[in-house]
Symmetry: C2
Subunit: 208 residues, 2 copies
Amino acid sequence: MENMKSVPKATLQRYPIYLKALRQLKGLGIERVMSSELSDYVGIKSTTIRRDLSFLGTLGKQGFGYEVDVLIDIFNEKLGIDFDEKIILVGAGNLGRALMNYNRWNYVVGEIVCAFDIDPAKCTNQYSIPVYPLDEMEQRLPEGCRIAIVTASKDIQKTVNRLSKMGIKGIVDFTHEHIIVPKGVILKPVDVVSTIQELVFETNSMTK
Amino acid sequence: MENMKSVPKATLQRYPIYLKALRQLKGLGIERVMSSELSDYVGIKSTTIRRDLSFLGTLGKQGFGYEVDVLIDIFNEKLGIDFDEKIILVGAGNLGRALMNYNRWNYVVGEIVCAFDIDPAKCTNQYSIPVYPLDEMEQRLPEGCRIAIVTASKDIQKTVNRLSKMGIKGIVDFTHEHIIVPKGVILKPVDVVSTIQELVFETNSMTK
DNA sequence: TAGATTGTTAATCGATTAACAATC
DNA sequence: TAGATTGTTAATCGATTAACAATC
């Protein structure tokens, strides 16, 4: 970490793809992988993969390839994926509840620890995860929590400002709203509508 | 459309951002916008915006800026967003149902017309949208449907192959699975776990 | 017209990849 | 060692943006 050359943004965005693939390969009992194999698997050129991996150290062996476990460990250690990122969720509506139930990501990046909602009727323990009133966000913030998922669009800008003050560093944003993010906070939009629009644009421009 | 210089991929991916912003501005009663204003609004340099827009024609007026309505119309007409893209949904689990209820995108890109699930218990009319057995996908495919949202990971590769044969051109993928997409089909992953991982990677690499 | 902002050119920056030297 | 694949260099490609000419 200390001497890490600054990793290009494009590379950083491919790491999750590699990590996912490596976990799947490991699940299939594969212990060693060559960049060319991984390339076929994820659809990224092998040179690009080797270059991307080289930012994390000298991980492969010439003539051999990479040990799957070594790569997975590196992603975990060097990049701070320690499987228990504490995540909070803002908004316990339909989508929020779907995310709460979507517990497949336990032990992958961590888990949603608790949720918040303005609607008192939604503040309950009846789901897999406790839901607290939005007011209590500051006091209920889990120790070390850096990441929030927001699904509620009511007063979203205010909420984002509050999250930022609370020390949240990354926000996964499911609202469609226009949000200005404070410095030092990264916001990743997850926008089905925009995704569909991109698809429409791209399919249209494909068929000329 | 006919003489459209091929639009760069990066530009294509920004169009939904512009369109969203323009609709919001229109909602605020704003009729004219300069590239510099739009730039402040969406956080993309004004030169980039002007260049992106120039692929769609000569839309602005020197000394004046752009008419919001003109831009919105161009996106709609030239790029085929006609508000009623017919979308099908595969998988009526928690996430699927959240998407069905998430009808905010009606009249934005179109709407989910129907859903499919392998589980007969989930094939019902009790939601806002009819859910049919997965078997009936081919016969129930809405006229002109090009886009599918998949949330069910069971046999996902088979499903994707089927969708492709049915003529689906774009897939929004909510599963975590490793999917090989047939030629001519675009798959856009929407992956909360990967998004969170990207956030963790990026926040970690920010704090050095 | 004069002022302003667009549309576009050309320079810069970053990302990809072909080619190959290093090395297991 | 010889064969193979990595790690890295250098060339290419694409995207961004500064600067400015075109023009409303």
